[in-house]
């Protein structure tokens, strides 16, 4: 996982392909890695992310399970107790909900409960977020539930390279990782060589995706490309925006985030998940706790509305887009003649 590849070897690959490759390489390196879930075997998953794994490693290593998410995660817990390293696929975010009791009451607690005697080296892959025209229950952003659960690591890639690197790191972790895959980036492409993967960052490190001096956009997963686009568009308004991709929501990289905000003095958190009770509140609160006297304006949030996910034909109004981000940046109290009254 530490080879660096010359740029010449790189060619376009999708995030889905990088994820497949990460599982493939992990399975080849370590016979204890087992992939399981609904339709992950013969079909290769409804998003084809496990394509070819059953063929290469056999159905015992990449297993089509019965249709029961609590059963999938619950049996994976037992497999982990016996020394395996299960990689579980939940078909869609909303279909992980039946497995919540197993996740919260067992997966997250097992190491702590047994003082380290039983560990849960589980990776739970959850395709999340909207923007794919899915009918209801196919576009939820469920990260807030995972973040509120002590004992879970929560990781999400936003780039093709990270898809590979973070998934390898997640599978290698001795603690459970909820690995959130942004559905609408599955077919995003980047020049990347699946044959000689690049260096893998450890979990818990954010990445500065764009340097800027006016304000920091803090985001992750599906909203990263939107923020990058917004940062480009902001140039014509005279704002030079920095963009931080969190990559790992837990552990949270306070250092990188705060260093950026201390430098720019302004921050907007952007995510798709509902605003109220969503990750943005935690992120804004911890930045404020740590960087209060560096802030020229309150940390603002651009998030999905506080509504059940919108039907496909209306989802573009729900999702945080470039204009909504720019409108929010504009509210970061740039005028010197600002008078009291708060952000509203």
């Amino acid at each position: 996982m530490t080879t660096t590849v010359p740029a010449t070897a790189r060619k376009p690959a999708t995030m889905a392909q990088a994820l497949t490759r990460a599982m493939r390489d992990a399975m080849a390196d370590d016979p204890s890695v087992h992939v399981m879930g609904e339709d992950v075997g013969t079909l290769g998953g409804v998003f084809r992310v496990t394509d070819g794994l059953a063929k290469e490693f056999g159905e015992d290593r990449c297993t089509d399970t019965a249709l029961a998410e609590a059963g999938i995660l619950g049996t994976a817990v037992g497999m982990a107790m016996y020394g395996l390293r299960p990689v579980v696929e939940m078909q869609f975010d909303a279909f992980a909900y039946p497995a919540f009791e197993q996740l919260i009451s067992h997966v997250a607690k097992m190491r702590n409960r047994t003082r380290g005697a039983l560990t849960m080296p589980l990776t739970i892959r959850v395709p999340y977020g909207g923007g794919i025209g899915g009918v209801e229950h196919h576009s939820d952003s469920s990260e807030a539930y995972y973040l509120a659960t002590a004992g879970l690591q929560v990781v999400t890639p936003a780039t093709v390279e990270d898809a590979y690197g973070l998934l390898r790191a997640a599978i290698a972790s001795d603690d459970p990782v909820v690995f959130l895959e942004p559905k609408r980036l599955y077919w995003s492409k980047a020049d990347w060589s699946p044959d000689a993967p690049t260096e893998v960052a450890p979990l818990g490190r954010a990445a500065v995706r764009r340097r800027g001096s006016s304000a920091t956009l803090i985001t992750y997963g599906p909203s990263l490309p939107v923020c990058m686009e917004a940062a480009e568009a902001a140039r014509s308004e005279g704002w030079d925006l920095e963009v931080v991709d969190l990559r790992s929501l837990m552990p949270f990289d306070d250092d990188t985030v705060c260093a950026s905000v201390r430098r720019t003095g302004r921050a907007v958190v952007v995510h798709e998940s509902n605003g109220f009770g969503g990750p943005g509140g935690e992120i804004a609160a911890r930045i404020t706790e740590r960087c209060f006297h560096h802030l020229e304006a309150p940390v603002l949030r651009v998030a999905g509305f506080d509504i059940p996910y919108a039907p496909p034909m209306l989802e573009r109004h729900h999702l945080p887009g470039v204009d909504r981000i720019l409108d929010t940046v504009a509210r970061l109290q740039w005028e010197s003649d600002w008078t009291a009254g708060g952000g509203e």
């Binding site: 998003f47 794919i132 025209g133 919108a310």
Partner: protein, 397 residues
């Protein structure tokens, strides 16, 4: 002398032989067990007793249903539906489910069962609203007593039980018929729903359409049971196994179960053995997981063909009759096509209207924000406020 002299134990050892005291089998399992073979009428001697009126009624519905399925799938190719899970090949189940119920009863369809809803009287455009994507559910469930099409598998089953139980508590003789797939029987909610129904003796009929697959996963990876109908005995309700492509058999078995429920006899589990002739949805590639030969064998056991054979034997399958039905089906399809070709009227502000009965101050603020954005958009200031409107076609599984 003995250990039982310790406190907490009893010295009375008189009734020591014999079974445990409060043990008593409360139900005889024998009548709960399904027949070893799927119940059939068509192609058997029993077919003779079937009423021709019923057969032509079923036939008409099957043909219309098949045409509806074909039209809906065509609409996905034209981009008018985001996705369509067809029930082609399963029409006998869908139609029988709809016809077995009275008006006052409730139907709880799964995401694949738009046809049952349409056969029960729901406007096909309303039935397809979810799959077109303009709203989550396109109809008022109270109008035809059809619960919203349910996507999270098996979660509609406890709803059916609760509704039936509530009706019974109110003294209404209402039956709920809940539909689920073979895959859905593996979910915990299936188990909990059947158990609640049996304990409450709720007037519910559970119809499992065993169409051989849960997306790509064949039944053998889903269960090791003798049949899905055999699950009934574990709840203390009768299990019935039926040829799901035999429309009159389906109609009879469901009808009996509905009547039994209405009479206070409690729930029934019906397994219909059928086949999903087409792919899981238009977006699925079924060749990845099953052979053309298997599909062909099932096409030969087609519900419409089975019924046609009986109608032909009765010399009812005249050209005039068939043409008439085909014409009706074509009309249904043409009407559906035309209405689905019109863009639905959409108001983005609806996103906030029904979250709560009373809008919160937070939602009011968000609604104003969207209103301002829409006004700006209308004023031509921005073209794509979301920057995320593009939907990757491949991203629809």
């Amino acid at each position: 002398m003995t250990v039982l002299e310790q406190p907490g134990s009893s010295r009375n050892t008189s009734s020591l032989a014999g079974p445990p005291p409060s043990w008593q089998p409360r139900t005889d399992p024998a009548p709960l067990l399904p027949d070893p073979e799927p119940y059939r009428l068509l192609g058997t001697d029993a077919a003779a007793r079937l009423d021709s009126g019923l057969l032509t009624r079923l036939y008409t519905q099957l043909v219309r249903g098949r045409r509806y399925n074909a039209q809906a799938t065509a609409l996905t190719r034209q981009g008018r539906l985001a996705v369509y899970p067809s029930s082609t090949g399963q029409e006998a189940c869908e139609i029988a489910a709809a016809l077995a119920l009275e008006e006052r009863d409730w139907l709880f369809p799964s995401y694949r069962d738009t046809l049952a809803a349409v056969a029960r009287g729901l406007d096909p455009v309303q039935a397809l609203t979810l799959l077109r994507g303009d709203w989550h559910s396109g109809y008022d469930p109270h109008e035809h007593r059809i619960a919203p099409l349910c996507t999270p598998l098996a979660t509609q089953l406890p709803h059916a039980v609760g509704l039936a139980h509530a009706a019974r508590l109110k003294g209404d003789e209402v039956v709920a018929l809940a539909m689920v797939g073979d895959g859905g029987t593996s979910e915990g909610d299936f188990h909990e729903a059947l158990n609640f129904a049996a304990v409450w003796q709720a007037p519910v009929v559970f119809l499992v359409q065993n169409n051989g697959f849960a997306i790509s996963v064949p039944l053998a990876k889903q269960t090791a049971a003798p049949s899905l109908a055999h699950k009934a005995v574990g709840y203390g309700m009768p299990g019935r196994l039926v040829d799901g492509n035999d429309a009159p058999a389906m109609y009879e078995v469901l009808g009996e179960a509905v009547q039994r429920a209405r009479r206070g006899g409690g729930p029934t589990l019906v397994e219909a053995v059928t086949y999903r002739v087409e792919a899981h949805t238009n977006a699925d590639d079924a060749t990845r997981y099953r052979s053309a030969a298997e599909v062909e064998a099932w096409r030969a056991h087609d519900p419409i063909a089975l019924l046609e054979r009986e109608l032909a034997a009765r010399e009812l399958l005249t050209d005039a009759f068939v043409d008439d039905i085909k014409e009706g089906a074509e009309q249904l399809a043409a009407d559906l096509r035309e209405r689905m070709n019109a863009d639905p009227a959409l108001d983005p502000m609806d996103l906030f209207t029904h979250v709560f009965a009373e809008q919160t101050s937070q939602l009011r603020a968000q609604a104003s924000q969207l209103r301002a954005e829409l006004d700006a958009e209308a004023a031509g200031h921005t073209e794509d406020a979301a920057g995320a409107g593009g939907v990757a076609e491949e991203a629809r599984p």
